[in-house]
């Protein structure tokens, strides 16, 4: 049996005296669509940052496809693409180069990378903006560029932090369709979102974090049962 896409065991993250993540453990199966939910400040982004290497780990361990993110960090990072909530593009590069340089940081270059960058620009309807700097893009275009950049090195695991925050309904539905297509093609996806209908619509399994602890981990269908996800969420996270 292949290693899970993510295996988190006893993850603890403290900032001084504050415990942001308090001993959570869970697996995300290879090929699944996993939703990590929780109120603001619950520890979702800290957990994601620990997975991708933006945050150090106080205790516990994380492995991506069997590669420990600390001991075997280089192999682990190659497997994952992050689409952060904030737009953090390089302002000195044009849109096409943002993709090509990101591939370069992952050790990839040449005609295959340029071809993939052009395909992603085409897929996300950004070809006409290829030579512009990102500051000139609309919010929806920036959101699409975030996804394109996360996918340039063809990661096996895609992590999306609020991927549809601030986008209109049409683009949201478009992104949902794209993510379903990507997942069906074998990419494992981890999603954090405040739009509960988005998690319900897309994810086959959900984890809910509250005050740094995992308070639910179940398949979406079983977790919700005959209620709404909002009711379940509020019941589990009411402070």
């Amino acid at each position: 049996m292949s290693a899970p896409a993510i295996r988190i065991a006893g993850l603890v993250k403290r900032y001084g005296g504050f415990t942001a993540v308090d001993g959570i453990s869970f697996d995300v199966d290879d090929g699944s669509f996993f939703g990590l939910l929780g109120p603001n400040g619950a520890g979702k982004t800290t957990t994601i940052n620990a997975i991708v290497g933006l945050s150090s780990i106080t205790a516990g361990s994380i492995a991506l496809f069997g590669h420990d993110v600390v001991a075997d960090w280089r192999a682990a990072r190659v497997t994952v693409g992050l689409a952060p909530q904030e737009y953090n593009f390089d302002r000195y590069l044009n849109i096409r180069d943002i993709l090509i340089y990101q591939a370069g940081y992952y050790g990839l270059r040449g005609p295959a990378v340029r071809k993939r960058a052009d395909e992603l620009l085409e897929r996300f309807d950004l070809t006409s903006k290829a030579k512009q700097v990102y500051l000139r893009l609309s919010g929806g275009m920036k959101r699409r560029l975030t996804l394109a950049r996360a996918l340039i090195h063809q990661p096996r695991l895609l992590i999306l932090d609020e991927p549809t925050a601030g986008v209109d309904v049409e683009l949201r539905l478009e992104l949902w369709a794209f993510l379903r297509e990507l997942n069906a093609a074998g990419t494992t996806i981890v999603l954090t979102t405040h739009y509960l209908e988005e998690a319900q619509e897309l994810c086959d399994r959900l984890g809910i974090i509250e005050k740094g602890k995992l308070v639910a981990l179940e398949s979406t269908r079983v977790l919700i049962g005959d209620r709404s996800l909002q009711d379940v969420f509020l019941e589990l996270t009411r402070r």
Binding site: R74, R77, V78, N88, Y92, Y101, G104, Y105
Partner: protein, 253 residues
């Protein structure tokens, strides 16, 4: 070793440099032309020689060091700080790039930038005052050591700064004063004995003195001493930048 990642970072830094060429490349060149006209040709015509060489020949290496130090620190520190401020540095942090590769990328880019600025000013020296290095090996060695030192120092301050003002503090209160009293315009031999001894503790003096050796063939202190000071400072600064980046200081939470 992620060689392609490292090369990509160096290339990215050079793209940044040439996209803000009016801030990074032309100011040191224009400032140097002005210094040469005012100090070298106007005032310098009243000073016949310093240490056996024409004043203009004495002045040019000091001006090159002045611009290399200022430009290298300024670019490296602002690039790192801006990356943190805009969070674009996360593109590097999530990629399979080690701290050594990240620091090497910034430092190599800093060295290339320094060599480019130095080359332009060297050409100005040849054209305007007909002076050129007599020891090109030493010329390159000192530029590389000084650029490594100030690129690494730029990384350190780029990591520590909470606002651009913090980066400017080192330039305003340390680099500029120490460079100006470090022998750019005059030899420390002109100073009273007490200040000559004090100058020996000024690191900028050793950088300028070692570099001037490549133009004049002699310095105020023995070359091994000045080169040793510069090399030790470069090693210390590089070690500090590497340790902070490896720790994720102000980079990873």
């Amino acid at each position: 070793m992620n060689a392609i990642g490292l090369q990509t970072l160096i290339k990215r830094e050079m793209v940044r440099t040439f996209s803000i060429i009016n801030q990074v490349i032309w100011p040191p060149v224009i400032t140097t032309v002005l210094y040469v006209f005012v100090f070298g040709l106007a005032l310098g015509s009243r000073i016949k020689q310093i240490g056996g060489v024409p004043y203009a020949t004495f002045l040019i290496p000091g001006l090159i060091m002045l611009q290399v130090i200022d430009g290298t620190y300024g670019e490296s520190s602002s690039s790192v700080f801006q990356g943190r401020f805009m969070q674009s540095i996360q593109e590097l942090l999530v990629a399979p790039l080690s701290a050594l590769e990240i620091v090497t990328g910034y430092v190599v880019a800093g060295v290339l930038r320094a060599l480019f600025i130095a080359a332009l000013i060297t050409v100005l020296g040849i054209v305007l005052v007909h002076t050129a290095p007599i020891d090109w090996g030493l010329y390159l060695l000192v530029i590389v050591l000084v650029a490594v030192l100030f690129s690494a120092l730029g990384i350190i301050f780029g990591l520590m700064a909470e606002k651009f003002d913090h980066i400017a503090m080192l330039t305003t209160f340390a680099i500029t004063p120490l460079v100006f009293v470090g022998g750019v315009f005059t030899s420390i031999a002109f100073l009273p004995p007490f200040f000559q001894r004090v100058s020996l503790f000024n690191p900028m003096f050793h950088m300028i003195d070692a570099f001037r050796f490549s133009y004049t063939g002699h310095g105020d202190v023995p070359l091994p001493l000045s080169l040793g000071v510069v090399a030790a400072l470069a090693a210390g600064s590089l070690g500090g930048a590497l340790a902070m980046t490896a720790r994720g200081y102000n980079l990873r939470t």
